[in-house]
């Protein structure tokens, strides 16, 4: 059940493109045709599915505070988490290189259709972002990390597929000249992101932490306002009581 929840959450509620804007550069650059968008999306799912669990293992057994205790008691106090960035990016770059070699050997046609995208994925913020969010949200098991990786990848894939399909259609629409291409894509993505926020209502039954982060900014503002009103009402009440005595 937890797996199903995490899966849906990472596709719709914490969608990599619409909720946290990861991988926007390649999202904007590659979305002119649906066929190339599908290729890149598939590659992103593949790489995320491999690197997130791998980085989870790295985080669990080497980087976390106290993670090195399997080496011996004296290592239990080491905290190597400041090395996370460099180790994650090294794993990602290596895995992408490996995947490229394997794909070239076993499926030359897939290699040709992916073309330049595979090496570019190493520097796609979505991949590093997936690993960093996995670390900051403290995902608990390897299975959940794999689930999160695949789910996030599918979310990204959905997003780029949608924008590519829309961009293909609006080539024939009457977009103002200054907005054509990049400008209108930004605005449409913004509107889609607003649309995806509607998924925030899914999965909120019972579990407090499942509420999406995007809404919490507004909720915080409202809470602050309520606190201030409360404080003001209390002080007004005191003043009224004091003048009545």
């Amino acid at each position: 059940m937890e797996h199903l929840e995490l899966f849906f959450k990472s596709i719709f509620i914490d969608n990599m493109v619409f909720a946290t804007f990861l991988g926007m550069c390649s999202y904007l650059a590659v979305s002119k045709k649906v066929s190339t968008a599908v290729g890149l999306g598939a590659a992103v799912i593949f790489v995320l599915a491999i690197t997130v669990p791998l980085n989870w293992l790295l985080d669990q057994y080497i980087l976390q505070p106290g993670a090195l205790s399997w080496l011996g008691e004296e290592y239990a106090s080491y905290d190597l988490s400041f090395l996370s960035f460099i180790m994650f990016i090294a794993t990602i770059a290596t895995m992408v290189q490996l995947v490229e070699i394997v794909v070239e050997k076993f499926s030359p046609s897939l290699y040709n259709s992916l073309g330049i995208f595979l090496p570019l994925i190493a520097v796609n913020c979505a991949i590093l972002g997936g690993s960093l969010f996995m670390q900051s949200r403290e995902i608990e098991t390897l299975g959940l990390a794999l689930n999160y990786g695949i789910g996030s990848g599918i979310g990204w894939f959905l997003a780029i597929l949608a924008i590519a399909a829309i961009r293909e259609k609006i080539r024939y629409s009457n977009v103002p000249p200054a907005l054509r291409g990049l400008g209108i894509t930004f605005i449409i993505t913004g509107l889609m992101a607003i649309g995806f926020m509607s998924f925030g209502g899914m999965l909120t039954g019972g579990d407090e932490e499942v509420a999406p982060e995007a809404e919490s900014a507004v909720i915080e503002v409202i809470k602050e306002d309520i606190k201030k009103e409360d404080a003001k009402l209390k002080s007004d009440l005191e003043i009224a009581e004091n003048t009545n005595k």
Binding site: I127, L132, G183, E215
Partner: protein, 214 residues
Amino acid sequence: MGLLSKKDSKLILDPLADNNPITIQVLGICSALAITAELEASIVMSISVLFVLGIGNVVISLMRNIIPSKIRIIVQLIVVATLVIIVDLVLKAFAYELSKTLSVFVGLIITNCIIMGRFEAFALGNSPWRSFLDGIGNALGYGVILIIVGFFRELLGSGTLLGIPVLGDPIEKTGLYSLGYENNGFMLLSPMALIVVGIIIWIQRSRNKALIED
């Protein structure tokens, strides 16, 4: 500018408008959108990118003749990752609240396409001084967009700038609020950043017809 030659000052001024990394080169979008709900976060992020890009460009340019071509991406990643770790640790030490707001996006400076993009396009083929100027110019161009978006989002979204209320107090109903004005909470949500950048692109391209696509 007195101390820089015409060509050199072009390196700094171009990315501020006509060759802006975000709106024209389409690089560095991810972090530009996610953290701009507060002006302070935008300013700190711009300074971080300035530091990483300026120094990174110089380091890569100094090493440009000894990096073997096959591993240059990995070398670039290591240089950037080291600089970003420094930035992250400095932020955690001196501005802890802010580093919590920026959370993973400080780490994502590593994959910020502007940095890798400028390394590949400029630092690998130019002298250290010119690479430094190019890095500063592009980071300033990035910073300008971030600050504009942050300015409008914070002003319209919470009525404050850098945490200081400027439109009056929403609870006491002073200033603008006494006329019935309400904060546009929508602006604090991340999709609005996309729409604000879209509008900036619209304005920029309307003024400079040469930038229009198709």
